[in-house]
């Protein structure tokens, strides 16, 4: 009861912050932008957050984070619109929605598919936010038991999780993580003050700029490679009628929404998890559970929209938990949020809750408000989003690229950063061509230096005795979990199954 009262009091603080005029506006702007880029195929939330990072620099920290969070879950909503209407993934986690959503649209049920997606997302968003609010405080208490050894082991678990749960080839994921770790080594070593791989360039002595890497490999690369995209697709943009699902539809999809929410919430917390994995898992489970579905999955089954859409939104919500309580990003978007917080001089971690309660609870409250805004925003405005799909890319893309350059420059007033961004843009295109995901790279880039620091700090504290990682119970538990993941993934039956799952669903 006591915990419940504190929770209510905390949420009170949060809503007090989120309900100010200014923050409502930024929440709205974030949701709007998020939906916008979610609708546009090819530009995902990672790219957008990367591009907008420098712009948030002039805002107060709370407003900045509220806006960035809004972009993140806004994109989850917007992505489904494109998936259903155009059969293109507006962003990666809506790949699954395409399977049945587009088929529903073909059968004249586009409106129902859209409202199911919105409803599922809203329910999942509410539950996810509640879970975040309820579990954040106890988890942050636990975080004070985390010393350098525990942090190191947790990051090992996180990186292995990112490999195991990556959606493409294992080898490529490992390669990208290692490349990220190596890039993270550039710059001054905290322990000794030695400059590493800086080649005498003073700009490199602080390391490669996070914004440059993120904007390069996600923003630049994705936009440039989108130029390749062929146009001309069958769309159902003019045929949206009967938004409201029938009673039969609701009865059918409600259990799927609840299951999707549960799966999404759980997978969102796991390192390497997040929205995409949650959507895949939910689809697989719905397919397994359904007995003689009519219509079958893949031909416009409403549960194939409801489940994954709920799951990806719940996952988007709960993936804030490790970031806000431990300061460890479970996926690439959260890694960007670390960057955003650092720009504002906030060290992500358990101390955020005590040192910036306004920011912490304000952000959580804003998530619920954002979810509400999205439902209101999305359903009536679907016609407008559809128009957006018609803006010629030859106008849209160069404009976006130019704003990116201005944004990168303005962080340090240094043109060197722009050059680095371009370099990473080129690298990013190469990665895309070889089918290497850039998300593990970014995760490695962020976690690598943190891991090294904590490893060396733990060794300093233990006076050079490596057994400290095995004698501290929390650390040992996490290392064992990491080991278990490696064992599971290397069992032949499971690794085959994993490949099948991803190929079947993504294909």
């Amino acid at each position: 009861m006591d915990a419940f009262n504190t929770l209510v009091a905390n949420l009170g603080i949060g809503f007090g912050v989120a309900f100010t005029f200014q923050n409502l506006i930024y929440c709205f702007v974030g949701c709007l932008l998020g939906t916008l880029i979610g609708v546009l195929p090819g530009i995902g939330p990672i790219a957008t957050i990367a591009m907008l990072l420098p712009a948030t620099y002039a805002l107060p920290p709370v407003a900045a984070l509220i806006m960035l969070a809004g972009i993140y879950y806004g994109a989850q909503y917007g992505g489904s619109t494109t998936a259903i209407l155009v059969n293109l993934p507006g962003e990666s986690s809506s790949v699954v929605t395409m399977l049945d959503g587009y088929q529903m649209a073909r059968k004249g049920r586009a409106g129902v598919a859209l409202s199911t997606a919105a409803l599922g997302s809203f329910i999942a968003g509410c539950v996810g936010t509640l879970i975040l609010a309820a579990f954040a405080a106890p988890l942050a208490e636990l975080a004070f038991k985390f010393g350098p050894a525990e942090y190191f082991s947790l990051m090992v678990l996180g990186l292995i999780g990112a490999v195991v749960l990556a959606s493409g080839s294992l080898i490529k994921a490992i390669g990208m993580i290692i490349l990220g770790l190596l890039l993270g080594l550039v710059g001054t070593d905290v322990n000794t003050g030695v400059s590493r791989f800086a080649f005498g360039i003073p700009e490199l002595s602080d390391g490669i700029g996070f914004i440059s890497v993120a904007m390069g490999v996600f923003g630049f690369a994705e936009i440039i490679s989108n130029v390749d995209m062929k146009g001309a697709r069958e769309t159902f943009t003019n045929k949206i009628t009967n938004l409201f699902p029938r009673w039969k539809d609701i009865k059918e999809c409600l259990p799927a929404i609840l299951r999707g929410t549960g799966i999404g919430s759980l997978l969102g917390i796991l390192p390497g998890g997040g929205a995409l994995l949650a959507a895949f898992a939910s689809y697989t489970i719905e397919k397994k559970l359904a007995k003689n579905p009519d219509p079958p999955f893949g031909q416009g089954q409403i549960r194939g929209v409801a489940g994954p859409e709920s799951a990806n939104n719940a996952g988007a919500q709960t993936s804030f938990i490790p970031l806000l309580t431990l300061g460890i990003p479970p996926n690439a978007v959260m890694a960007l949020m670390v960057g955003a917080m650092t720009i504002h001089n906030i060290q992500p971690g358990p101390q955020v809750m005590t040192s910036n309660p306004q920011l912490f609870w304000g952000m959580i409250a804003s998530m619920w408000l954002g979810n509400l805004m999205l439902v209101i925003l999305n359903l009536p405005l679907i016609g407008m989003w559809v128009q957006l799909l018609k803006v010629p890319y030859r106008i849209l893309y160069p404009a976006i690229l130019m704003f990116c350059c201005i944004g990168v420059f303005s962080v340090n007033n240094n043109s060197f950063d722009v050059l680095i961004t371009v370099l990473f843009g080129v690298l990013g295109i190469v990665f895309l061509r070889f089918g290497c995901e850039a998300a593990p790279l970014l995760l490695g880039f962020i976690l690598g230096p943190m891991m090294e620091e904590n490893l060396r700090r733990a060794m300093l504290l233990s006076r050079g005795d490596p057994s400290v990682f095995l004698t501290r119970p929390l650390s040992l538990t996490m290392l064992l979990m990491a080991l278990a993941m490696v064992v599971i993934i290397s069992l032949p039956a499971i690794s085959k199954k994993r490949e099948e799952t991803f190929q079947e669903e993504a294909g």
Binding site: A58, P148, V194, P202, S205, D206, N412, L460
Partner: protein, 327 residues
């Protein structure tokens, strides 16, 4: 886009226009156009806040816009180098600190600028003090007990810093030298990250900046054993100086000073010095500094020159004794 940046850009444009419209600068009284105040650290930190407050005050006194320009990177080296190589006409000045002008040069012989030869001191703005905070689980109640405890347990205690070669680190080394103790240095990326380990007991003590330690002190989560200035701080008036608490003469401050490129005409430096001292005299300015744990100083340019020289010698000795090397 930041409003600040747009304003800065507008100011720069105005400066350009003024430069073309006005007769040759020599014929005019200084300052004839906006003055650029380079801050070699990112926005939001203590140096940036001091710089912005100063720029605002100076703009009113000087009658010309003083524009802040953040040039962060490489521990202040990038911005300082920029100022060192700027035209010595008084239109580019730098807000520098102990780390760019005393510790940096002592630590790294290959600096791209010479802190003494390339700069003319203008005014000593303020000093910021560190506070010695200790773990709640450490069995000591005051500074004398900490020293005794450290002596009894050589090599078993740890202290945290905000990185190798930072003032927090060097203050710790200075403490070890002054007390003849051996405590292991554990670097973090900022003292805020070390505080959880201090509270959990893995770290015994930190010489933290007063302003950043204040929330933990008020929350009663850490022990406070003394401040590293010779005078008590108005922010924590109950906490004794380390000098009072038994370590005679122990002092470790960060200075904040305004510098101009070497070769700037003496009348210009004199004028800037007078104006900065006038800004420092204002009560609200002093309050802003105090809220951030800094003590306003002021005085003639020679005051700054003396402090730079004193701290360069002092920290060079600490660095040499502790064997801290960049390579």
């Amino acid at each position: 886009m930041s409003i600040r940046r747009i304003l800065a850009a507008l100011a720069a444009l105005a400066a350009l226009a003024a430069a073309f419209a006005a007769p040759p600068a020599a014929a005019q009284a200084y300052p004839a156009k906006p003055v650029r105040l380079v801050i070699p650290f990112p926005p939001g930190g203590a140096t940036d806040i001091f710089g912005r407050v100063l720029a605002q005050r100076l703009s009113e006194i000087v009658g010309q816009q003083v524009v802040v320009e953040n040039r962060p990177g490489a521990g202040g080296t990038i911005g300082s180098e920029l100022a060192a190589k700027a035209a010595p006409d008084g239109y580019t000045i730098l807000l520098a600190t102990t780390s760019t002008h005393s510790i940096g040069p002592a630590l790294n012989p290959k600096m791209p600028y010479d802190a003494k030869r390339d700069f003319a001191p203008v005014a000593h703005l303020a000093d910021a003090t560190n506070i010695l905070i200790a773990s709640p689980s450490l069995p000591v109640a005051n500074l004398r007990e900490l020293i005794a405890h450290a002596r009894a347990n050589p090599g078993r205690l740890n202290y945290a810093s905000s990185g190798n070669g930072t003032i927090v680190h060097l203050t710790g080394e200075q403490f070890k030298a002054a007390t003849g103790t051996f405590v292991v240095h554990i670097p973090y990326k900022g003292t805020a990250l070390a505080v959880p380990d201090l509270i959990s007991g893995q770290i015994a003590f930190i010489f933290d900046n007063i302003a950043s330690a204040l929330p933990h002190i008020k929350g009663g989560k850490v022990k406070t054993l003394g401040i590293s200035a010779l005078k008590r701080s108005p922010l924590v008036p109950d906490i004794p100086t380390m000098d009072e608490a038994g370590l005679k003469g122990f002092e470790s401050n960060t200075y904040f000073g305004v510098f101009a490129p070497a070769g700037t005409p003496p009348p210009v430096i004199q004028r800037l010095n007078t104006d900065i001292n006038r800004a420092l005299a204002a009560a609200d300015f002093r309050e802003r500094l105090a809220a951030l744990g800094a003590e306003p100083v002021g005085g003639p340019p020679e005051q700054l020159a003396r402090v730079v020289e004193r701290d360069t010698v002092k920290y060079a000795a600490v660095i040499k004794r502790a064997g801290i090397k960049p390579d």
